[in-house]
């Protein structure tokens, strides 16, 4: 054990550790949060001896032997870099991303988070149409933690004069979104699926009409696959299930194996060149972006997705989730469940019930994200073992079954 170990046995009580984080971190977890000792796949061994199942990270999953070995080896050679020399891992990563993404999406910009990658897509759009000041998306959709993504989520500009102002259309009015794509719009940002919204909810015809609107106006169609790609929906990318190809595709934390911060914008050479060709390459970039360790992570994760047939495994998660969770619908506070691959969610009769489910799950040692209104997402790592996924879904089913209907709308079937 090294003197700087953070993972060994500690003298201080774990609650003190949680209290330190709660004292200093904005948006800190609750007082019952587990302190991590060890992680493999969905399994978290906590410092107090308890074992939790992770349905919150929504990533690749820690502890994959091949990926871990690759990261340890790369960290031992060079992790970040001055980038004066040529990076072999970067070449490998961008070639792998080219193999993953549909043509003509061939150019990858690696940065430090999915949020940064989404922002890079919007910067590309702003550079394409500098005079346009609007970006369109669905209200309430999660598009990351940077200013323009948050503005779309909240549906209002967070700064009175920010570079792009959001036009956030209600989620249940997709036709309105298409209609709003006019000549003043730089980009449209849509996630193909999300907790509470199925891939099938947006029809092929809708996607075609959106593509046509973007083609007509020149607005960039940005597909936010931070959550859905790679593999989560049971296919390499959700983009491969759509009848259209976006102008920019955004990937996020999964590519870093939950260990190395990374995000990626993939676009076409033509779209890229409209802003960045024949200009100083430092016009966009970051100190850390495209570093060798993150590139090694991208290459290793994509290789593991293929070698371990992780997309196939997520389809098995979908089948299991449907069988274990469907009986909950209508029997208590649960009004709907969804499963697109391992993008699993439960809709409750009301937000209070959703919060109650999260609390129940915490008591059952299941880690989930805070609810989004009346929806609780269940997002196991891609590499979670079938046994852990089954146990996780059993705990969700049990916790959901314990909830009784409350409030005037309880038990209401939300889906049309």
């Amino acid at each position: 054990m090294t003197t700087n170990s953070h993972l060994g046995a500690r003298d201080a009580a774990d609650l003190d550790d949680v209290a330190v984080v709660r004292r200093h971190l904005l948006g800190a977890p609750g007082p019952e949060a587990p302190v991590i000792r060890r992680q493999v796949g969905a399994r978290i061994a906590a410092a107090d001896g308890s074992t939790w199942l992770d349905a919150a990270s929504a990533g690749f999953g820690p502890g994959h032997p091949t990926v871990t070995d690759r990261l340890v080896a790369q960290a031992g050679r060079t992790a970040l870099s001055s980038r004066i020399l040529v990076s072999r891992p970067l070449a490998e990563a961008v070639a792998a991303l080219h193999q993953l993404c549909p043509d003509p999406l061939t150019v990858s910009y690696l940065c430090n988070s999915g949020a940064e990658a989404l922002d890079s897509a919007l910067k590309l759009a702003k550079g394409t149409h500098p005079r346009r000041r609007l970006v369109v998306g669905f209200a309430g959709a999660d598009h990351g933690t940077l200013l323009h993504g948050l503005s779309l989520t909240h549906g209002v500009p967070l700064l009175p004069d920010q570079p792009l102002r959001p036009v956030a259309v209600p989620r249940d009015r997709p036709d309105e979104l298409v209609a709003r794509v006019r000549d003043d719009v730089t980009a449209v940002v849509v996630a193909p699926a999300a907790p509470g919204r199925r891939l099938a909810d947006l029809s092929p015809d809708w996607w075609r009409r959106l593509r046509t609107a973007c083609d007509r106006t020149g607005a960039l169609l940005v597909l936010d696959e931070r959550l859905t790609g790679p593999a989560r929906l049971g296919v390499d990318l959700a983009a491969t299930r759509l009848p259209v190809t976006p102008d920019a595709l955004v990937l996020g934390e999964t590519l870093g194996a939950d260990a190395v911060p990374v995000g990626c914008l993939v676009t076409s050479r033509a779209t890229y060149d409209r802003v960045y060709a024949r200009r100083n390459p430092s016009l966009h970039g970051s100190t850390f972006g495209a570093n060798p360790l993150s590139a090694a992570a991208v290459a290793a994760v994509l290789a593991a997705c293929a070698d371990d047939r992780l997309a196939d495994r997520q389809r098995e998660v979908e089948t299991l989730a449907r069988s274990r969770l469907a009986p909950l619908v209508g029997a208590g506070a649960v009004t709907d469940v969804g499963a697109d691959g391992a993008l699993v969610w439960v809709r409750l009769a009301e937000p209070t019930a959703a919060r109650a489910l999260v609390a129940e799950l915490a008591r059952d040692r299941v880690l989930v994200r805070p609810p989004d209104g009346d929806v609780v997402a269940v997002l196991p790592p891609l590499t979670a073992t079938p046994a852990d996924v089954a146990e996780l879904l059993d705990r969700v089913a049990a916790a959901g079954g314990r909830l009784t209907t409350t409030g005037p709308d309880a038990g209401r079937e939300v889906r049309a």
Partner: protein
């Protein structure tokens, strides 16, 4: 050794699938393939080694592959790499305890991000939420606060902003080092915040006059304007103190930390805020906790690396080491300017944050190439638009006096060669550099006799 076919495959991938212009420039420069790095040196697959004074503009503060940080990173990768929402990674606890001990008093609320740009955006949201009725943000000419779209709206470097403008009308740009200009900008009470690098970084590297940072902080306090200290380049000892604001005894309202914080292993950024700023922000009518929350991509490996790096900085008292070794380098650079004034304008520096102010971008490039040929990497600005760019030298604080002497010897040889070049030639070369992106890329490769075949032209 990397075969030509292998090099060609790498360049083809980078040119077709990453950044075609950057790939062309790397090929034209004949850059080798990176192998590994250790201590103060970077090694290429062709067996060459270089003393790294570029250090990614300050990232490699504790050297490459620092053993203490490497151990923490490996342990985290093997045991607990992730940082799931709703859980606590123990390294976060260690990191926060350390930050509270070393940061100026009162900066004890943290938001984590994955880059300096991300946390600059965090700070921008915080100050606008905390001062909702104030429209303006004051920055210094030449300042750098990241290139994400909102961070871009704070940038004091016009050439990075121009292709994306308009970006908003909130920015007030004042000359760096001029406290009276800051006071004037804040006089009408419309300023939400001043974002300031305590030592101006980048190609504009400038050490301000003593008392400047204090004067800015006082001007902020007098007008209830928030003072955001961007210590992304200067933090953790680079300037000879743990933080550069300490030279003036200043306590900012917000401080930004990144670059060196993980010892060169993993991206991270920390926005440190006072409780007063957080409380003010939370009173905004549109307040929501998600507006000041950490990025989802911050990992357990990143916080473990950060905690270990701070331990390394403190245990080895690296700020003191920068203060001790810095004069050896800055004095050597000043002597080089005295001996070779033909193409040089000055040697700004404090601690081990140093550089050479060159007569023009061609001189910066030629010195950088000459140093590279002599086994020393320097921090070239890649900015051919400004008049007198500073070639930066930010060695690891763990470097030795002998390594500094080696760099100065290489510089003396390079400048002796450069003195034989006419000024008119460097001016003509600068004009060419400013047009280089308009030249046919294949011509660039041919001019540099590159053996790489350029097969990444757009269709």
């Amino acid at each position: 050794m990397t075969s030509l076919d292998d090099r060609q495959r790498i360049f083809t991938a980078l040119g077709r699938h990453w950044n075609p212009t950057a790939a062309t420039m790397l090929a034209a420069a004949g850059r080798a393939v990176e192998s590994h790095a250790s201590g103060s040196h970077v090694y290429a697959e062709d067996g060459t080694a270089a003393l790294d004074l570029a250090a990614s503009y300050g990232v490699f503060l504790v050297g490459h592959g620092n053993p203490r940080v490497a151990t923490a990173v490996t342990e985290a990768l093997r045991q607990a790499p992730a940082n799931p929402p709703g859980a606590v990674h123990p390294a976060t606890v260690t990191l926060f305890r350390a930050l509270v001990e070393i940061l100026p008093a009162g900066l004890d609320r943290f938001v984590l991000g994955c880059s300096g740009a991300e946390i600059c955006e965090t700070a921008l949201r915080a100050v606008r939420l905390a001062r909702p009725d104030r429209h303006r943000i004051v920055v210094a000419d030449g300042s750098y606060h990241g290139k994400t779209l909102a961070a871009l709206s704070l940038l004091g470097q016009g050439n990075h902003r121009t292709p994306f403008e308009p970006l908003g009308d909130h920015l007030v740009v004042v000359p760096y080092g001029d406290a009276a200009a800051v006071r004037a900008a804040l006089a009408d009470g419309s300023g939400a915040a001043v974002f300031l690098e305590p030592v101006l970084g980048g190609a504009h590297l400038t050490v301000p006059p003593p008392g400047y940072v204090r004067a800015v902080a006082e001007a902020c306090a007098a007008t209830d304007t928030l003072f955001v200290a961007d210590e992304i380049q200067t933090g953790f000892g680079r300037t000879g103190r743990m933080f550069a604001v300490e030279h003036d005894g200043v306590r900012p309202d917000v401080m930004l930390l990144s670059k060196a914080l993980t010892g060169g292993f993993v991206p991270i950024g920390v926005c440190a805020l006072s409780s007063a700023v957080v409380d003010d922000a939370a009173r905004h009518p549109h307040w929501h906790p998600s507006l000041l929350t950490s990025g989802a991509a911050v990992t357990g490996v990143a916080v473990a690396a950060a905690a270990a790096t701070i331990e390394e900085v403190r245990d080895r008292d690296l700020p003191a080491r920068a203060a001790e070794l810095g004069p050896r380098l800055t004095a050597g650079l000043a002597e080089a300017v005295r001996r070779h004034p033909k193409h040089l304008r000055g040697a700004p520096g404090i601690g081990l944050m140093t550089g050479l102010r060159t007569a023009n971008p061609a001189v910066e490039l030629m010195v950088s190439i000459g140093m590279g040929q002599r086994g020393v990497h320097t921090g070239h600005s890649l900015n051919e638009q400004i008049a007198e760019p500073v070639l930066r030298m930010y060695p690891p604080l763990t470097c030795t006096a002998d390594e500094i002497d080696q760099a100065l010897a290489a510089l003396e040889e390079t400048l002796t060669w450069l003195d034989r070049q006419p000024r008119a030639m460097t001016r003509a070369a600068t004009a060419l550099l400013r047009r280089q992106y308009r030249l046919p890329p294949r011509l660039l490769l041919r001019m540099n006799k590159s053996p790489i075949r350029m097969d990444w032209q757009a269709a």
